[in-house]
């Protein structure tokens, strides 16, 4: 099963390497990983998407907790949460395709953030499923490049992950 883990980490050099190393050493999967400092510059927040049965996920969270620099962590998938991912797609657009691609972007609430005579660069934000659906919808258009931010997540309601 897919799980989204949110980890508060001391913002120190080497801390991220420890998290990534743990997954490599113990043979766990990483589907995506994002990390940046929080409003408190001494703390980074990392969102990690992984897969595994309950026993594997339990081991992953326990092993993460053991890392000295991990301050707190939560499995967002255990309760109501919001997840978002940002994608930028650069597509080749012939004169006759431009309207169609624009319409498609609109349907997905995407924005065209850069244009040239022959290309559009489109930004789409949403769940990972939505981004994949957008790529499917571009069927017939030549994709030159895609870049995805990886998933960020936060729990719904008043529940927070903070110090």
């Amino acid at each position: 099963m897919r799980h989204i883990l949110s980890v508060l980490l001391e913002n120190e050099s080497g801390a991220l390497a420890r998290v990534v190393g743990l997954f490599a050493q113990r043979g766990y999967n990483i589907d995506s990983l994002t990390v940046a400092a929080t409003e408190d510059p001494t703390i980074s927040r990392l969102t990690l998407v992984t897969r595994g049965d309950d026993q594997v996920i339990e081991q992953i969270t326990k092993q993460l907790h053991k890392l000295i620099e991990v301050v707190k962590l939560a499995d967002l998938s255990e309760s109501a949460h919001i997840e978002r991912e940002l994608m930028m797609v650069k597509v080749k657009t012939t004169a006759e395709q431009r309207e169609e691609v624009k319409r498609c972007a609109d349907i997905f609430r995407g924005q065209i953030i850069d244009i040239t005579a022959n290309t559009y660069t489109i930004q789409v934000v949403g769940t990972s499923d939505k981004l994949e659906a957008f790529i499917q919808a571009l069927n017939g258009t030549q994709i030159l490049e895609t870049v995805r931010s990886g998933v960020s997540g936060i729990s719904r309601g008043e529940r927070t992950l903070s110090l």
């Binding site: 001391e10 080497g14 092993q63 053991k66 000295i68 991990v70 301050v71 110090l163």
Partner: protein, 579 residues
């Protein structure tokens, strides 16, 4: 007005490091100098509180520190230079990590401005050691050194102990750059706060389950020794009159000569211990981690047992075998709480059921009973260990290397006290035994320290015979010489039709002459009748290192041996018998 003596003293980074070690109560540092640590070595030279032991290879320094920690419970300290000094220490760090041994390893590093340039003797020690340490840190500012030393010891020694590496670039220790020195009294980390006490509700539940058992067993491991909880464990086991088995790492936590002790369990465990485990209805696991060398096939592991598991590391609970009643906490306070609760409710096990259980155990004891083949032609390694036990009155510190001799020592040297059996259980590091014996002997010069080894393992760190001479470390080396890498050969006998691929040690040195060349005493034993007088002489030579090169039966195997892929109680009992 503040008087002058309350002003913190100004010290260089190197001097602060050594002073911090002294303030931490460190008596010995094991190491090897080199370019990146010259400032530190110079600071070491100018004081007398912390003493340095110069080994002949950095791996030995780590094993000495490790064994000191195993015998004393306090972190051992290693000092090595950058590059090859640090990489040579890697095996020893991994050895300590696998057995949860507290250790602080100080590694030199090239100057900060050279890091990343592939400078001379530069290696990314933080990167290399990351998977084999509890934590590692680098010094960025010399004034942080006292805090980082405190932090290193705190992390190494608290919770589930482990090695901590402190990487120090050379420019952090420049003698002319001085900073006010103050050693922190204690330390708090927001991200690390090991839970020591254990949940009282879980402890109550565990006790109720244990008291309702008809076929209980207490299975204890290295955590009891690390947690200094041998006394509590013994008291509880005796109060309940339940059988006790120890893991390889836990030997000595419960006295082997006690009638409730049923021997070591696992791959080369006793027949009765493995039977008791397999047939138990409640397994009370204390500071043990259900290692694959204990459980055999986990799918077939102890099918009828309710498992209670005390461990300080939550990640060790339900990792390989599901625990029904987990208790996260240090073994000592948890057992104390359990004893108190037991005192209060005056609970007892069903005595009739327990009686039947002990009758059954008695029958299992008679099946194998640690017997081994006798031979007229050869000296038996098991007999040597039994003789060593007699000559040391069962009271020696015994270190071992890895292989058949290690298993024979574990099976036949009956340890009655904790911290006496010192071996590399998790990593299985050949070359551990001699430096380990040295680390113990240095701190306990009056104690009898015996290194049980083989002709394969001893050659992995034999250069340390020179260190032994320099520091007068008069250990006794029992070299069970069978001319083969015995455990490899045993597996080749059992699984590869005796094709001895690279397991024969040709061109062995004359160990007697070798010991003499290093300035020690060497004695060769080739016949059974020579053993007693040789041991007599060796242990009488108190102020000499004696190397006993004892030629033993090259065909011997270690039994019992669990059948791979089977349940706990499926074992080979000899070359011709199996369950």
């Amino acid at each position: 007005m503040t008087s002058q003596n309350t002003q913190p003293e100004l010290l260089s980074g190197g001097a602060m490091l050594i002073r911090a070690l002294a303030d931490e109560g460190v008596e010995y540092v094991y190491g090897y100098p080199g370019g990146a640590v010259l400032h530190i070595y110079d600071a070491m030279f100018q004081q007398h509180q912390v003493k340095h032991v110069l080994v002949r290879h950095e791996q030995a320094a780590t094993h000495m520190a490790d064994a000191y920690a195993r015998a004393s419970g306090k972190a051992g300290v290693v000092l090595v230079t950058s590059g090859p000094g640090a990489t040579n220490a890697v095996t020893g760090i991994a050895t300590a990590y696998m057995d949860s041994i507290p250790m602080v390893v100080i590694c030199g590093q090239v100057m900060s401005h050279l890091i990343g340039d592939d400078a001379f003797q530069e290696t990314d020690m933080l990167g290399i050691s990351r998977p084999i340490v509890k934590h590692n840190m680098s010094v960025r500012r010399p004034e942080d050194i006292p805090y980082l030393v405190k932090k290193a010891f705190y992390i190494a020694q608290s919770g589930r102990p482990g090695p901590v590496v402190l990487d120090i670039p050379k420019d952090m220790t420049i003698p002319s750059q001085k900073f006010p020195y103050e050693y922190p009294k204690d330390i708090k980390l927001r991200s690390y706060n090991p839970n020591a006490k254990g949940h009282p509700g879980q402890i109550k539940k565990a006790l109720t389950t244990l008291l309702a058992a008809k076929k209980p067993v207490l299975y204890s491991g290295g955590g009891v020794i690390l947690g200094q909880a041998s006394e509590e464990l013994t008291t509880l086991a005796r109060k309940l009159n339940i059988p006790v088995t120890n893991t390889l790492m836990g030997l000595g936590a419960y006295p082997a000569s006690d009638p409730q002790f049923i021997g070591m369990l696992g791959m080369h465990g006793s027949y009765e211990a493995n039977q008791v485990m397999h047939n138990a209805d409640v397994i009370f696991a204390v500071g043990a981690r259900f290692d694959d060398r204990v459980t055999n096939a986990t799918k077939k592991f102890c099918p009828n047992a309710t498992i209670i598991h005390i461990d300080i590391d939550p990640a060790s609970i339900s990792k390989t075998v599901n625990a029904h009643i987990p208790i996260v906490g240090l073994v000592k306070p948890v057992l104390q709480e359990m004893l108190q609760q037991l005192e209060k409710n005056q609970g007892q096990l069903d005595q009739q059921a327990l009686g039947h259980w002990w009758q059954q155990i008695q029958q299992w004891r008679e099946v194998h009973g640690g017997r081994y083949e006798q031979s007229a032609a050869h000296l038996k390694p098991q007999a040597v260990i039994e003789a060593v036990h007699r000559h040391t009155k069962g009271d020696a510190y015994v270190t071992s290397d890895v292989g058949q001799h290690q298993m024979f020592a574990a099976q036949y040297y009956k340890f009655d006290k904790p911290n006496r059996w010192i071996n590399s259980g998790g990593l299985g590091t050949m070359g551990f035994g001699l430096p380990a014996a040295m680390g113990v002997k240095l701190h306990y010069p009056e104690a009898e320290v015996v290194c049980v080894t083989g002709e394969g393992s001893i050659q992995m760190n034999i250069q340390e015979l020179s260190t032994c001479k320099q520091y007068g470390l008069n250990v006794k080396i029992i070299n069970l010489n069978n001319g083969y890498l015995g455990m490899v050969k045993q597996w080749q006998d059992m699984n590869y039709d005796s094709r001895y691929s690279s397991s024969y040690m040709d061109s062995l040195p004359d160990f007697v002459k070798l010991a003499e060349a290093y300035g020690h005493v060497g004695i060769r034993v080739t016949k059974a009748e020579e053993l007693e007088p040789a041991l007599e002489r060796a242990f009488a030579l108190k102020d000499k290192l004696v190397f006993l090169d004892i030629h033993v039966d090259p065909t011997e195997h270690v039994y019992p041996m669990q059948i791979p892929g089977g349940a706990m109680n499926e074992m080979f009992l000899s070359k011709t018998e199996r369950t």
